[in-house]
C-alpha cells in the first residue's frame, strides 16, 4: 500500500536520477534535470552580467573615469542589459517553469519533454553565441534596445550588432518553443480535479507569462529580421537614406519590450505567492482576484508599449492614450501588493530567508512601480526619460522585483530540487546584505537622474552634482557582489552539506510537497486527485490551523515518502534523447551561418546554412519518428 502521512518521512538525498555522467545530462528529457541545467546556466550568466555591472560601476565611481574605453563601456552596458534580461532573469524564471509547473499540476513531465530539452540547448548555445564576442571586444554595442538607425550598417559597420541580431533570434526561438510547451502542459496535463481555479498561483502566473512570450516575441523577431535583412541583404527598412522611419524599429521593439518586462516580473509574482501563504500559514488572500489581476496586467501590457517613446514626438493624442493606459496597470498591480499584505495580515509569519525575500519584493517593487507611474505622465517623463531616474526605476522592478522573487523561490524550492536545505544563517546574511546594497546602489540613481545625469554615458565631468550619488551607487554595487558571493557559497556548500530535506520542510499547501525531496524521476508514484486549492493543508496533520478545522474535505493527496525507480513502478518515462541537442546545435549553426553573409565569406555562410538546414531537418525527422518513451 502506498505510504500514508502517518509513516515517519523517510529522507534520502539521492540524485535526481540514478544514472549519472555527462551523457545523462546531454540526453535528458526530464523536466527536473532540465530545470537544473537552466539553473546553473542562468546563475552563471547572472554573475557574468553582474560582473559587467560591477565594471560599469567602477568606471562611473568617479568623474572622468578611465577604467574602460568608451567602446568597451558600450559593449559592457549593452551586454549587461541583454545578459540580465535574456540570459539571467528569463532563464531563472524558466528554471521554475520547468521544475514547478509539472509538479504543481500533478504531471509526470511537460507535454513535450524533448522540445523542452531543445529549448534549453538553444538557450545555452544562443547564450554562448552572444556572450563570447565580448572577450574579443566585438560584443554588441547598441544598447539593449538597439535603436535603428544607429544599428544599421551605415552607422554600425562592425560585426558587433550582427551578433546581437542573430543571438536574440536564437534566444527567441528557445523562449517560443518553451512557451508552446508550457501552454500545452498547463492546459492538458493537469491531474484529475486540478481545475484552472485550483492551480497554484505560480503555475497561473507562469501560464500567463507563456502567452506574453508567445505574442511578444514574434514582434521582435520581425524587427530583428528586418534589421538583419538590412544589414545582410540591403533592404531599406531602417535605411534613412531611403526614407525609412526609425520609429518602426522602436514600435516593433517595444511591442515586444513592454510585455517582456511583465514576462520578467509575473513569474516572480507567482513565486512569492507560493512562499508568502506557506510561511504565513494562511491561504493566499483573494485568489481569484490574484488570477484576474495577473491576466489583466498581461493584457494591458500589450497596450502601453509607446510609453517608452514619449520623447519621440508622437503627438498629444497618442501620448495621452498611452499615458493613461500605462497608469491603469498600476491598479491590478496594486491589488496584488495589497493582497499579499492581506495574506500576511493575521498570519503566523515564519521569517525564514525565503520569506524575507518574498516580503522584500512588495517592499522594493513598490518603489519601482511608483517611479513607473511617474514615467507614465508624458510631460513629467520628458525630464526623466533616458536619465538615471529610469535606471533606478527598472532596477527596482527588476532587482527589487524579479530577482527578489527568484531568490525567494530558490530558497523555498532548493530542498525540493536538491534534497537539502540551504543554510539559513548564510541566507539571512545574503538577504540583508542584498537588501541594503540594493538600495544603496539604486536609490541614489533617482537623484543622479533627476539632477540631470543621462544614462548610457561612459564618463561624466566633475562638478555636475552627481559625484556623491555615483560613488554611493558604486559602493553599493561592490557590496552587491559580496552579497551575491555569499549566495554562491551558500548554494554550493548546502548542496553538499545542507541538512537533508524532508518531503515538506515548510508545511506548504501544494502538491509538489507531497513527494520526496529530491523528486523521483517519475514525480508522483500515484497521480494525485485534487479536491481543493490547498490539498496538503487538507491532510489533517498538515492543516496549519489545527486538525479538523478545515472544511473536512477528503484530500486526494498522499504523502509519498519512498523513492523508487520508474521501472520498478512500471511508469513509462520519456526516453533520453540526444536529438534535441543535435537539432538545437544544427539550428544554431544554421542561424549563425548567416553571420558570415555580411562578412564577405559567403561560401562559408552558405555551407553553414545549408549544412545546418539539412542537419536540422534530419534531426527533427529522426526526433519525430523515434518513440517518446519505452513501453512496459
Amino acid at each position: 500500500m502506498a505510504t500514508t502521512a502517518a509513516t515517519a518521512p523517510a529522507i534520502h538525498a539521492t540524485p535526481v536520477s540514478k544514472k549519472g555522467g555527462v551523457m545523462s545530462w546531454l540526453t535528458t528529457t526530464d523536466h527536473k534535470k532540465i530545470a537544473v541545467l537552466y539553473l546553473y546556466t542562468a546563475l552563471f550568466f547572472f554573475i557574468f552580467g553582474g560582473l559587467e555591472a560591477v565594471i560599469i560601476r567602477a568606471q562611473l565611481m568617479l568623474p572622468n573615469g578611465e577604467l574602460v574605453s568608451a567602446e568597451l563601456y558600450n559593449q559592457l552596458m549593452t551586454m549587461h542589459g541583454t545578459t540580465m534580461i535574456f540570459l539571467a532573469v528569463m532563464p531563472l524564471s524558466a528554471v521554475f517553469f520547468n521544475f514547478l509547473i509539472p509538479l504543481q499540476i500533478g504531471a509526470r513531465d511537460v507535454a513535450f519533454p524533448r522540445l523542452n530539452a531543445f529549448s534549453y540547448w538553444v538557450y545555452l548555445l544562443g547564450g554562448i553565441f552572444i556572450t563570447v564576442p565580448i572577450f574579443f571586444m566585438v560584443a554588441p554595442d547598441g544598447g539593449w534596445f538597439a535603436y535603428a538607425p544607429l544599428t544599421t550598417n551605415q552607422f554600425s559597420p562592425g560585426v558587433n550588432i550582427d551578433f546581437w541580431v542573430l543571438g536574440i533570434q536564437i534566444l527567441g526561438l528557445s523562449s517560443l518553443a518553451a512557451a508552446f510547451n508550457f501552454i500545452t502542459t498547463v492546459i492538458n496535463m493537469r491531474a484529475p480535479g486540478m481545475n484552472m481555479m485550483r492551480m497554484p498561483m505560480f503555475t497561473w502566473m507562469a501560464f500567463v507569462t507563456q502567452f506574453l512570450i508567445a505574442l511578444a516575441f514574434p514582434a521582435i523577431t520581425i524587427a530583428l529580421v528586418f534589421l538583419q535583412f538590412d544589414r545582410f541583404f540591403g533592404t531599406t527598412f531602417y535605411d534613412i537614406t531611403a526614407g525609412a522611419d526609425p520609429l518602426l524599429w522602436q514600435h516593433l521593439f517595444w511591442i515586444f519590450g513592454h510585455p517582456e518586462v511583465y514576462i520578467l516580473i509575473l513569474p516572480a509574482f507567482g513565486l512569492i505567492s507560493e512562499v508568502i501563504p506557506t510561511n504565513a500559514r494562511k491561504p493566499l488572500f483573494g485568489y481569484p482576484v490574484m488570477v484576474y489581476s495577473g491576466i489583466l496586467i498581461a493584457f494591458l501590457g500589450f497596450g502601453v508599449w509607446a510609453h517608452h517613446m514619449f520623447a519621440v514626438g508622437m503627438g498629444p493624442v497618442a501620448d495621452t492614450v498611452f499615458g493613461l493606459m500605462t497608469m491603469l496597470i498600476a491598479i491590478p498591480t496594486g491589488v496584488k501588493i495589497f493582497n499579499w499584505i492581506a495574506t500576511l495580515w493575521g498570519g503566523n509569519l515564519r521569517l525564514n530567508t525565503a520569506m524575507l525575500f518574498a516580503i522584500g519584493l512588495p517592499a522594493l517593487f513598490t518603489i519601482g512601480g511608483i517611479s513607473g507611474v511617474m514615467h507614465s505622465s508624458p510631460p513629467a517623463v520628458m525630464q526623466q526619460t533616458d536619465s538615471y531616474f529610469i535606471v533606478a526605476h527598472f532596477h527596482y522592478v527588476l532587482f527589487g522585483g524579479s530577482m527578489m522573487g527568484i531568490f525567494a523561490g530558490l530558497y523555498h524550492y532548493f530542498p525540493k530540487m536538491f534534497g537539502r536545505m540551504l543554510n539559513e544563517r548564510l541566507g539571512k546574511w545574503h538577504f540583508w546584505l542584498n537588501f541594503i546594497a540594493m538600495n544603496l546602489t539604486f536609490f541614489p540613481m533617482h537623484y543622479s537622474g533627476m539632477l540631470g545625469m543621462p544614462r548610457r554615458i561612459y564618463t561624466y565631468d566633475a562638478q555636475q552634482g552627481w559625484e556623491t550619488f555615483n560613488l554611493l551607487s558604486s559602493l553599493g554595487a561592490f557590496l552587491l557582489a559580496i552579497a551575491t558571493a555569499v549566495f554562491v557559497v551558500n548554494f554550493f556548500w548546502s548542496k553538499r552539506n545542507g541538512a537533508l530535506a524532508p518531503n515538506d520542510p515548510w508545511g506548504a499547501p501544494t502538491i509538489e510537497w507531497s513527494i520526496p525531496s529530491p523528486v523521483p524521476e517519475y514525480n508522483f508514484a500515484k497521480l494525485p486527485t485534487i479536491t481543493s486549492r490547498y490539498p496538503m493543508w487538507d491532510l489533517p496533520s498538515k492543516d496549519p490551523a489545527g486538525v479538523g478545522t478545515r472544511a473536512g474535505r477528503e484530500s486526494g493527496v498522499v504523502m509519498e515518502t519512498e523513492t523508487f525507480t520508474a521501472a520498478e513502478l512500471g511508469i513509462p518515462m520519456p526516453l533520453p534523447s540526444i536529438k534535441p541537442l543535435l537539432a538545437a546545435f544544427s539550428i544554431v549553426v544554421l542561424l549563425s551561418g548567416m553571420f558570415f553573409l555580411s562578412n564577405d565569406s559567403k561560401m562559408l555562410a552558405l555551407v553553414l546554412m545549408i549544412g545546418g538546414g539539412i542537419a536540422t531537418f534530419g534531426f527533427i525527422v529522426s526526433w519525430l519518428s523515434s518513440p517518446l518513451e519505452e513501453h512496459h
Partner: protein, 417 residues
C-alpha cells in the same frame, strides 16, 4: 510650482522636502537639477512632478508601513494560535482597487492638460532655432539671422524659443535639464520643442546633453546654453553675423577690430551687422560646472614654449584638410558644412561638444588627434606621427601637420572671436 497657499501643495513640499527641495535650492551644487522654474515648460513639469511625488510618497508610506507593521505584529511567536484561514474579502479588495484608481485620476487630469498645453504650437513671435544633431555635436541654426553656430546655444531671456529638431544621422535627444524636458531628434522626422527662459533670469549658462544613445561618443555630445539678457543677445547675434573677426583677440573687442569686421561683413552676410559691441558670455563668469574637466593624454600635450602665429595659421588652415569639413565665414577657402562652423570658435568656451575647455593646449591636442580624445570622432587626426585609432593608420608627412603648424592653426582659430 509657485508656492501659493494650496494646502496640498504645501504638504507635497513638506513631504518631499527633505532632500529633494533642498537639493533643488542650491543650484550651484546641483547645476543640472530638473527641479526649478526657469521656464514655463519646467514649471509645468515640476508641477506634475510634485503631484506625482506627493501621491507616490503616500502610496510608498502606506505600503511600507502596512508591511512593516504586519511583519512585526504577526511575526511568529511560540505558542501563537493558528492563524485564521481567511480566503479574501471582497469589500477590502474593491477598496484597494478603487483607491489607486482615484489617485490615478488625480494624476491623469493635470497630466492630460499639460500634454496638450506643452505640445501646442509655439507662439508665432517665438525665436526660431533649428537644432541639428550630428554624431557627436550640435549645430544651432538661427534662420531669421542667418547664423549657424555649434555646441553653444544663446537664448534671450523672456522670449519664447521654438526649437526645430532634426538630425543628420542617428537619433539624438536634446536636453537642458534646467530649462525643461527633452525631445528626440529623429532621422527623417522633425520635432518641435518650445519654452521661455524666465525674464527674471540673470545671464547665465546651463549644461545641455544628448540623452539618446547615439554611438561611442554619446557621453561626449554635450552643449552649453546661455540665457542672456535681450540686449546681450542682440550684441552676440550681431557679432555672430559678422564674418570671422581675425585679430580681435580680447573681449570686448577694440573699436578698430570691430570696424574691420564690419567692413568685411558687408560683402556677404545676411544682414549687415550693426556696429554693436560684440558680446559673448564672459569667461571669468563661467561657473565651475560649465568648465569641462576632461583630461588629455600626455602624449598630446602642447610642447612648452610653442607659440603659434595666427597669420601663418590662417594660411596653413586654408590649405589643410580642415577646410574639407569646416566653414569660416570670411574665409573663402573654408566653406564646408560637414563639421561645426568655426567662424567664431574663439568666442566659445568648450571644444569637442562640451568635452574640453576651449584653451590653446586643448585645441592643440584636439587638432592633432581628435579621435584619440573623442571616441569615434569623425574628424581625422592630422598630427604627423599620430595613429588614427579607427583606421589604425599613422599620419605621414604628406597631408599631416607638425606641431608648429598645428600651433599656428590654434592661434588663428583662437583669434576668431
Amino acid at each position: 510650482m509657485s508656492f501659493n497657499h494650496r494646502p496640498r501643495q504645501f504638504v507635497a513640499a513638506a513631504l518631499s522636502a527633505g532632500l529633494v527641495l533642498a537639493l533643488a535650492a542650491c543650484a550651484q551644487d546641483y547645476p543640472n537639477s530638473t527641479f526649478n522654474h526657469h521656464t514655463e515648460f519646467n514649471t509645468a513639469i515640476d508641477f506634475l512632478w510634485d503631484r506625482l511625488l506627493f501621491w507616490g510618497t503616500i502610496v510608498f508610506v502606506v505600503v511600507e508601513v502596512a508591511l512593516i507593521y504586519t511583519i512585526i505584529k504577526f511575526r511568529h511567536r511560540e505558542g501563537a494560535p493558528a492563524p485564521k484561514q481567511v480566503h479574501g474579502n471582497t469589500t477590502l479588495e474593491i477598496m484597494w482597487t478603487v483607491a489607486p484608481a482615484l489617485i490615478l485620476i488625480l494624476i491623469a487630469v493635470p497630466t492630460v492638460r499639460t500634454i496638450f498645453r506643452t505640445q501646442a504650437p509655439a507662439v508665432p513671435e517665438a525665436l526660431q532655432v533649428e537644432v541639428i544633431g550630428h554624431q557627436w555635436w550640435w549645430e544651432f541654426h538661427y534662420p531669421e539671422y542667418g547664423v549657424r553656430t555649434a555646441n553653444e546655444l544663446y537664448l534671450p531671456v523672456g522670449r519664447t524659443v521654438n526649437l526645430t529638431l532634426v538630425t543628420k544621422d542617428v537619433i539624438h535627444s536634446f536636453w537642458v535639464p534646467q530649462l525643461g524636458g527633452k525631445r528626440d531628434l529623429i532621422s527623417n522626422r522633425t520635432n518641435y520643442l518650445w519654452f521661455t527662459p524666465d525674464s527674471s533670469l540673470e545671464s547665465t549658462v546651463w549644461n545641455g546633453f544628448c540623452a539618446e544613445f547615439c554611438g561611442p561618443s554619446h557621453a561626449n555630445m554635450k552643449f552649453r546654453t546661455y540665457t542672456v539678457q535681450p540686449d546681450e543677445f542682440e550684441r552676440w547675434m550681431s557679432n555672430q553675423q559678422s564674418p570671422a573677426a581675425f585679430g580681435a583677440v580680447t573681449p570686448p573687442a577694440p573699436a578698430a577690430a570691430e570696424g574691420e569686421a564690419v567692413q568685411v561683413a558687408a560683402a556677404d552676410s545676411v544682414t549687415p551687422a550693426a556696429a554693436l559691441e560684440p558680446y559673448w558670455y564672459p569667461e571669468e563668469e563661467l561657473p565651475a560646472y560649465a568648465i569641462p574637466t576632461g583630461r588629455i593624454p600626455a602624449s598630446l600635450a602642447m610642447p612648452d614654449g610653442l607659440v603659434g602665429d595666427p597669420q601663418r595659421g590662417l594660411e596653413i588652415y586654408s590649405r589643410s584638410t580642415c577646410i574639407g569639413c569646416h566653414a569660416i565665414s570670411g574665409n573663402p577657402m573654408s566653406l564646408a558644412r560637414i563639421g561645426p562652423d568655426l567662424t567664431h570658435i574663439g568666442s566659445r568656451h568648450t571644444l569637442g561638444a562640451g568635452m574640453f575647455p576651449n584653451e590653446p593646449s586643448f585645441m592643440f591636442a584636439w587638432i592633432k588627434n581628435s579621435r584619440a580624445l573623442k571616441p569615434g570622432s569623425l574628424m581625422l587626426p592630422v598630427g604627423i606621427g599620430q595613429r588614427d585609432p579607427i583606421t589604425g593608420m599613422v599620419i605621414g608627412e604628406r597631408g599631416g601637420l607638425n606641431d608648429q603648424q598645428i600651433a599656428d592653426i590654434v592661434a588663428y582659430l583662437q583669434a576668431l572671436k
